[in-house]
Symmetry: C2
Subunit: 361 residues, 2 copies
């Protein structure tokens, strides 16, 4: 209104849409974004809106600090960290490295980790980058495009809600995952982490651009289309450049939790049967024994009527759902990307199968 | 020889005696000091003798850095850390705190951790303090007299042989144990740690003085007395102000390793039966159902013929052993000390029973 450039911003009013879209990109995992949304709402009310900066607008020498929640989001509800602790975790890493953060970023687009960084951004008075390190959700720290670009996960900071803090330096990003995972478990299965600190140049080159805006757009579309009694599921597919693979009723859900992840299988019956294999996220979709889509592409389950995303924990017998597939960031399909997040890494005996936009059935 | 004061020093020739004495103070735990002795021998050959400084000679503003091995010493044999990694772990903590170490110290007198600090001292060219934080061996990080003095275990550094390094800051010393233990397990069950960094004034007030000299003296006496076909067991008891509780043959050893510690029970038959309860260290000695001595006092098992210390892992059916008891540092008998290392902490349903020098049986 004063003639200066209007900077995009995220306000408390955006959080409902952002959280819904984040649960869509979470592809069944990433946790219910409810707690992240609550914390962000509190921080935005207290500190005002957070400026949103496109990766392409980052100066080369920007100091970009991602922040995230590691562990089980369900546990975080029980022992919610204070807003200050989240900012302190970023500050602990910044102090260790000896630089001053200029921007906050999301390392994951999906679930709680799309809203969690807004808390740090609001508290520290910093803008947040409109992008993330995956373009979706994945369960382990090394599973980010930064790893493919040779950017270190460490030094990283890790903290709990009581005030215990660690700074880790690892020989590679997978070791960082192992070390941080063990601390997270000791910290009660939920920790705050800040890792993959990057320059602006590194962030521009390695982040998936636009994912916070995309989440908000998806979340808004679902609400709008639903208000018009339209096809919310189709609207989500359109926003993601994906398509509906299958619609039907959940007729079987089998879960095992032996390895600390929510592993399992869900059967969606309808015109034929689609079997979903999940480990936090939906990773493989099979129709009649034939693999139709696998990680790294996105497999998304929505409530057929409302278009609301359904997490793997919330899948229930009798639930009427639609299964969407959508393309992942192209870099995930490189040999290094497939090694990091392809189906074989997760223990599925199949080559990766890419999302195909043609409806051949 | 130049008329200046002769400083005491530890040379490679002292290591055999020092390691033997350390295994005695290890009271069955602390690990076989063999690997620590090998590493120390290599470091002392390369860098020369290490000066030994009495706690009482420490200036107030000395910066004393303990260094130790955490985890299973048996594992360390498989993946021996380089001499440099040990020094680097001290350096990582010093850098984090922002001070320059002036002295190295032992946090534990017993097993590998009496010789391990000599490696860092030799490599960094620093003197080692003639003392330690326990006056014996105990299995957990918070079990040091420093905790009773309000000295923090953290900031602490922790590193593995590959180059992974963490710096931890905890809300209390028991939380430091939990966090560092989980990292140690992920690091392959053996890690190098530097913790309880102290000023000279704090070290003077909180260390048990003279334990490295005591270990060396005990180790020498065993060799001398054995050479004279004398009573090596009696000589050890005399050095420690203790007495022989029992001599006989090991007639039963039961072990369980469910909680990550080598828990178990050993029966020594002879004139009556003495039952030893151990968890890494020997913690309770019972005769005919009556508790005779408990932690924090020292319960030591020696080979009856040779006077060589026997670790709890080495206890075998048919082994002819002598069981000694000796008094712990008086501070361990305070209410705070008993809370930290008394028999109930270890899960034994008995009040602490102090060593009694009178032979009433």
């Amino acid at each position: 209104m004063t003639g200066t450039l209007t900077t995009a911003a995220i306000t408390a009013d955006d959080l409902e849409a952002l959280a819904r879209g984040a649960a869509v990109l979470g592809t069944g995992g990433g946790g219910d974004p409810y707690i992240g949304r609550l914390l962000a709402a509190q921080a935005l009310r207290e500190h005002g809106p957070v400026a949103l900066v496109a990766p392409s607008d980052l100066p080369d020498d920007a100091q970009v600090f991602p922040v995230a929640m590691m562990g089980a989001p369900t546990v975080m509800v029980e022992k919610t960290p204070s807003v200050e602790r989240i900012g302190d975790t970023v500050a602990a890493l910044a102090r260790h490295i000896g630089v001053t953060p200029t921007h906050i970023a999301c390392i994951e687009a999906g679930g709680v980790n799309s809203t969690f960084p807004l808390v740090a951004a609001a508290q520290l008075g910093l803008p947040v980058v409109d992008g993330d390190g995956m373009g979706r959700a994945f369960p382990e720290l090394q599973m980010v495009l930064q790893t493919l670009s040779g950017i270190g996960c460490t030094p990283m900071s890790i903290a709990d809600e009581k005030g215990n803090v660690g700074v880790l330096q690892s020989v590679d990003n997978r070791s960082a995952e192992a070390l941080a995972r063990s601390l997270t478990i000791t910290m009660g299965c939920a920790a705050i982490i800040s890792n993959y600190a990057m320059t602006g140049a590194q962030a521009r080159a390695s982040l998936v651009a636009g994912t916070l805006s995309l989440c908000t757009r998806i979340g808004r579309r679902v609400a709008e289309v639903r208000a018009e009694h339209g096809d919310a599921v189709g609207a989500v597919a359109a926003e993601l450049g994906g398509r509906v693979l299958h619609s039907g009723k959940v007729t079987d859900v089998a879960r095992r939790t032996t390895t600390g992840f929510a592993r399992g299988t869900a059967v969606v019956s309808g015109a034929g049967e689609l079997v979903l294999e999940f480990q936090n996220e939906h990773l493989v979709a099979r129709r009649d024994g034939v693999v139709e889509v696998t990680t790294p592409d996105l497999i998304i389950v929505l409530d057929t009527d409302s278009g609301e995303p359904v997490t793997t924990e919330a899948l229930r017998f009798g639930h009427r759902v639609s299964v969407l597939a959508a393309p992942a960031d192209e870099r995930w399909h490189s040999p290094g990307g497939i090694e990091l997040v392809g189906p074989r890494y997760f223990g599925y005996d199949t080559d990766p199968v890419r999302f195909d936009a043609r409806e051949d059935r």
